[in-house]
């Protein structure tokens, strides 16, 4: 099974994973990590310890920020990073990870996450 790891600033990662379980019940093999308080080096090591020897997708909040940069620094060929994590992305991950190859899954998650951004405004 492809492992999921959500790495973000603050408590976003934990909240996303906990909130996801409100929709789907507890999701197996899905972990969270806050980048707070770690140096660049330590954060790499921490992320690596959570995904080493696993096929894994690492979800991060912002491209260019520490969670993304450090996750990218430890990637192996069977792992990848997707930034801009949101609930839509995680719901798709939980529901579709056993039905697709990892490459297909990653592409689908990016598209599903993008599709979950919609605008609703009232005309004034």
């Amino acid at each position: 099974m492809i492992r999921g790891l959500v790495v973000t600033h603050g408590d976003i990662a934990e909240s996303l994973v906990v909130s996801l379980s409100h929709f789907l019940g507890e999701v197996e093999e899905l972990f969270f990590l806050s980048s707070d308080g770690y140096s660049a080096k330590e954060l790499s090591e921490k992320i690596e310890s959570l995904v080493s020897n696993h096929n894994a997708i690492i979800f991060t909040d912002l491209p260019g920020a520490a969670p993304t940069t450090r996750a990218r620094s430890i990637l192996k060929t069977n792992q990848c990073v997707i930034s801009g994590v949101n609930m839509g992305m995680l719901i798709s991950f939980a529901m579709k990870r056993n039905t697709l190859s990892q490459d297909e899954l990653v592409e689908l998650l990016v598209n599903d996450a993008k599709r979950s951004v919609e605008m609703f405004c009232l005309n004034s």
Binding site: H9, D36, G37, Y38, S39, A40, K41, E42, L43, L62, G64, A65, A66, T69, R72, S73
Partner: protein, 158 residues
């Protein structure tokens, strides 16, 4: 150096990240952002990760400590330059070698065993603290300063 030209050196062991690029890059705002770090400057993989983090409209680069020392003098500072270093020792090395810093601060230093917590993002070991004393002896006031719009915190060195 014209009156408004400034070179700030920041100790940040998370290197280039959101607080630096957005907080200081857009908030100060910096006209250049540099990372002076031998470890990153000499590692192709790390360079690939960190180089794109410097926003194109700001500019700057990644250099070794020696390159940083030869790049700037009092007269070559133009605009508002932020130079990030990984630790207090690197900062001390630059200052000892007459780096023309207008001001210096600690932005982030991670927690760890035996470290004393000064703010939620700054934790210092005894040897880091000794280095900070040496920096103060060189005539620099070194404070903890997370973001341009947060209040700097004095590090009590007595």
């Amino acid at each position: 150096m014209r009156k408004n030209d400034q070179l700030i050196v920041r100790v940040d062991d998370r290197l280039l990240h959101g607080q630096v690029v957005v907080g200081w890059g857009a908030g100060w705002p910096a006209s250049e952002i540099w990372l002076a770090c031998d470890r990153v400057a000499r590692d192709e993989d790390e360079l690939l990760l960190y180089k794109p983090l410097i926003p194109e409209h700001i500019g700057g680069g990644i250099v070794t400590l020696e390159e940083a020392l030869s790049r700037w003098n009092e007269d070559s500072i133009k605009g508002k330059v932020l130079v990030v270093v990984e630790n207090c020792e690197d900062l001390h090395y630059l200052l000892q070698n007459k780096f023309p810093a207008s001001s210096v601060h600690v932005g982030a230093s991670s927690a760890g065993a035996g470290k004393t917590t000064f703010t939620p993002s700054v934790h210092l070991s005894e040897s880091e603290f000794e280095t900070i004393k040496k920096i103060a002896e060189l005539g620099f006031e070194i404070r903890i300063h997370e973001l341009p719009n947060t209040k700097p915190v004095v590090i009590p060195i007595d």
